[in-house]
């Protein structure tokens, strides 16, 4: 896509890696088990194990989608992700509109990425320590590919809820936060549709249901 010899190789490599791993990133954001583990790092380890288990045990698109749907419901605070990706508009929508958007967002993510993940069964994620500030935790990790591709850095943003449990909020690969990317997209769609959340929901619902 970026076609110039003058661009630094790091950009190409980074861009390619980001695009390549968007799938596995969202794949692993979707899975996660209810974890009352002793640390956010342990929680991330559990999430990745659960993700790979799903990928290896569910052979059909429908089966993977259902399993990912259950995982995302159990382990992420979708309301927080929905509000963040909506941006300032989140403050002006009704509870009913927010609930519809949240559902559309969740279904969109599950359908798109659950099917794409079929090819990511042999990768593994190794955690490498965490930063903590208040209820925010950043867990550093590396994706280890089964092929000869070099490992890729990945950061997990885990939030400690008020009841002490963990939820996964976002994943960063080579500097690209996935939820921020969604927010950037939604901001544009809302802007071109007079800030109509109905238009945004309709846009999400008409998206491709799988990465064919």
């Amino acid at each position: 896509m970026i076609m110039t010899s003058s661009l630094p190789p790091s950009l190409f490599k980074g861009f390619s890696a980001i695009l390549l791993t968007t799938g596995i990133a969202w794949a692993t954001i979707l899975p996660s088990a209810a974890a009352d583990g002793p640390s956010a790092e342990d929680y991330v380890t559990k999430i990745t194990q659960d993700a790979l288990t799903i990928l290896r045990t569910h052979q059909t698109d429908a089966g993977r989608e259902e399993a990912f749907g259950e995982l995302i419901d159990r382990t992420t605070n979708m309301r927080r992700i929905a509000r963040f990706t909506l941006g300032p508009v989140a403050r002006s929508v009704s509870d009913e509109e927010l609930a519809r958007f949240e559902k559309a967002l969740r279904n969109n993510l599950v359908k798109i990425y659950a099917n794409r993940l079929a090819s990511y069964t042999n990768e593994r994620v190794e955690t490498q320590g965490e930063q903590k500030k208040g209820r925010n935790h950043l867990v550093a990790s590396k994706i280890i590919f089964a092929s000869e591709r070099p490992p890729l850095d990945m950061t997990w943003w885990i939030i400690e809820e008020k009841d002490g449990s963990f939820t996964l909020f976002d994943i960063q690969i080579l500097g690209v936060w996935m939820a921020q990317e969604q927010r950037d997209i939604f901001t544009g769609i809302l802007k071109s549709n007079n800030q109509s959340i109905d238009a945004l929901i309709a846009h999400l619902e008409k998206q491709p249901t799988s990465a064919d």
Partner: protein, 256 residues
């Protein structure tokens, strides 16, 4: 910061009217090296309509020319050869990376890049093999646009240029400088230079076939996705890949 740097240097240059270009450069370098204040910039896309038209043109060219050419290239080129080609072009970018590491005041990175270039150019047979990595010298890159950013130059608006891809005025300026420092651009004869540049472009596009196909199939707005990826990744690289928990937005109250 760049403006400030020049303002700082200007009176010095005036006082020492005989200041040589070398001394001026040394002073500039010294000030650059202490210019570490870098902050993330939000995406500015005031030319979005024009950019989207450029993006559509680019996508059409890609669909009918670049992507088919990349697939054909991959079909006839063994993986082993592709890896060697990638390594050669990565090695050719190291002189510019080394100069920028110096300008950014990163002595350790400068040494690493220099050593990588020397080892891979010789033992690695013109960069074909990444021998340096076996000595613990991991790949490390800096570009001129990053140097500008660290000196405080704002990125300017987001731009999408057909065949060139996502960019910004700062990045374009940096690319021009990187191009000038690339050994490839100093090949005198176009018949020598153009095939080399073409091969690099082909390899780059070939490496992006699956990622871009996936993104195209799944993104709710491909233009916006590309813009976000590009912008976030550039900021990340300018900040040397550091993610600080102190810079995260406050999202705690957004949950249930």
């Amino acid at each position: 910061m760049l403006k400030t740097t020049l303002q700082i240097l200007h009176p010095i240059a005036c006082r020492e009217r005989r200041m040589s270009p070398l001394r001026f450069f040394a002073c500039f370098l010294a000030v650059m090296c202490i210019s570490k204040a870098v902050s993330a910039e939000p995406i500015a896309d005031p030319f979005e309509r024009i950019n989207r038209v450029s993006f559509a043109i680019h996508q059409t060219l890609d669909r009918f020319a670049m992507r088919p050419a990349a697939i054909a290239y991959r079909t006839v080129t063994p993986d082993f050869v592709e890896t060697r080609i990638r390594n050669i072009f990565a090695n050719l970018s190291l002189p510019a990376a080394g100069i920028n590491a110096v300008l950014q005041g990163k002595p350790q990175q400068t040494l690493t890049i220099t050593a990588r270039f020397l080892i891979n150019t010789t033992l690695g047979i013109a960069g074909m093999f990444d021998v340096a990595e076996r000595f613990g010298l991991m790949p490390s890159y800096e570009d001129t646009a990053q140097t500008f950013a660290r000196a405080g130059m704002p990125s300017g608006p987001y731009l999408f240029i057909p065949l060139l891809g996502p960019s910004s005025p700062r990045h374009l300026l940096g690319r021009a400088a990187d191009q000038f420092m690339s050994p490839v651009s100093h090949l005198q004869e176009p018949r020598d230079r153009n095939p080399v540049i073409g091969l690099n472009l082909l390899q780059i596009r070939a490496d992006l076939v699956e990622p871009l196909d996936d993104l195209t199939a799944s993104s709710t707005d491909l233009y916006a996705s590309m813009r976000s990826f590009y912008w976030q990744n550039r900021e990340f690289e300018i900040l040397d890949g550091e993610t600080s928990i102190d810079t995260l937005p406050d999202v705690l109250d957004l949950g249930d």
